[in-house]
Symmetry: C2
Subunit: 194 residues, 2 copies
Amino acid sequence: MKSLKEKIRLEGSVIGTEIVKVDSFLNHQIDVEFLEEIGMEFKKRFNDVDVDRILTVEASGIAIACLAAPYFEYPPVVFAKKAAPSTMNSGYYESEAKSFTKGTVSAFKLSKQYLHEGENVLILDDFLASGQASLALAEIVEQAGAKVAGIGAVIEKGYQGGSEILRNKGYRVESLAVINEVCDGKIYFDDNRG
Amino acid sequence: MKSLKEKIRLEGSVIGTEIVKVDSFLNHQIDVEFLEEIGMEFKKRFNDVDVDRILTVEASGIAIACLAAPYFEYPPVVFAKKAAPSTMNSGYYESEAKSFTKGTVSAFKLSKQYLHEGENVLILDDFLASGQASLALAEIVEQAGAKVAGIGAVIEKGYQGGSEILRNKGYRVESLAVINEVCDGKIYFDDNRG
């Protein structure tokens, strides 16, 4: 997605050799008009699959999923929680994911009320890096007896190998921008993908 | 907002004597089409104020702010974080809020890059209860030398007194549904407000 790569080049910043920070439009401040374009692009990429539900994880994923939903004719959106509030008292699905950025392991939790057997579930998230978060979401889908319709990421860090792991497990992955390398503060994209 | 009160009556559940749970459309599963109506209603209520930026706090607030933004002509949305990720390395504003539901104290953090002196900031959130979260957000706005244009809540728990505290501090508060009392598992609304 050309406009996305331009925006990452213009507004993104690099921390160390692996972290790309896009807080100006995706992870802290949110450019809603631009995320609508992102949503439209996800619809183009997944136009041939049935989507009964969009699944993401708090926090940044919520904006992406909500702004994509209108283009998929408003399926319910549900987000996994990283900490169970005291009000989550009935049964839930649970899986574990390591966050590369935060250096922590999160237990993703999703109430059994909001994901059902047989549903086609599109997983959307901001970053695809090592693939751990997507795998944890896919695991929840499978615990429910539902089907992963696809996995969409706004930005893939190709050098962390996550998309290959997901594809080897049989999941369809669409990343709107794929970063091949981060070097000397510069971001290099894979121009054949994304 | 009549449709909101109906939805809370139909889908909301009561835990104990104080907690109202609306996980089916607001706090876990998200009904995006309905949140667009909510966004439109916020625009009606705050039609006479200038809004340069919408401020909320993760996680549920993100959906509300993002789906309201189009009706305010796409001002930037920014959400306070409850934990600073390792990528938040430059200066930030900080304030403290107690979460009634989770029984915890959160430190809200917001990068100084995404809130500026002189801006008119609309604060939007899911619940207004004791008012602590809104106060913490308003404090951040004032730390930045910006101005609180108004505080909008989807659901106010009137019996926890937050809106009075906020109004006494001079803030304009708009709640789309005001719950007066929760008793024997039933929800009673204030039909003169909301």
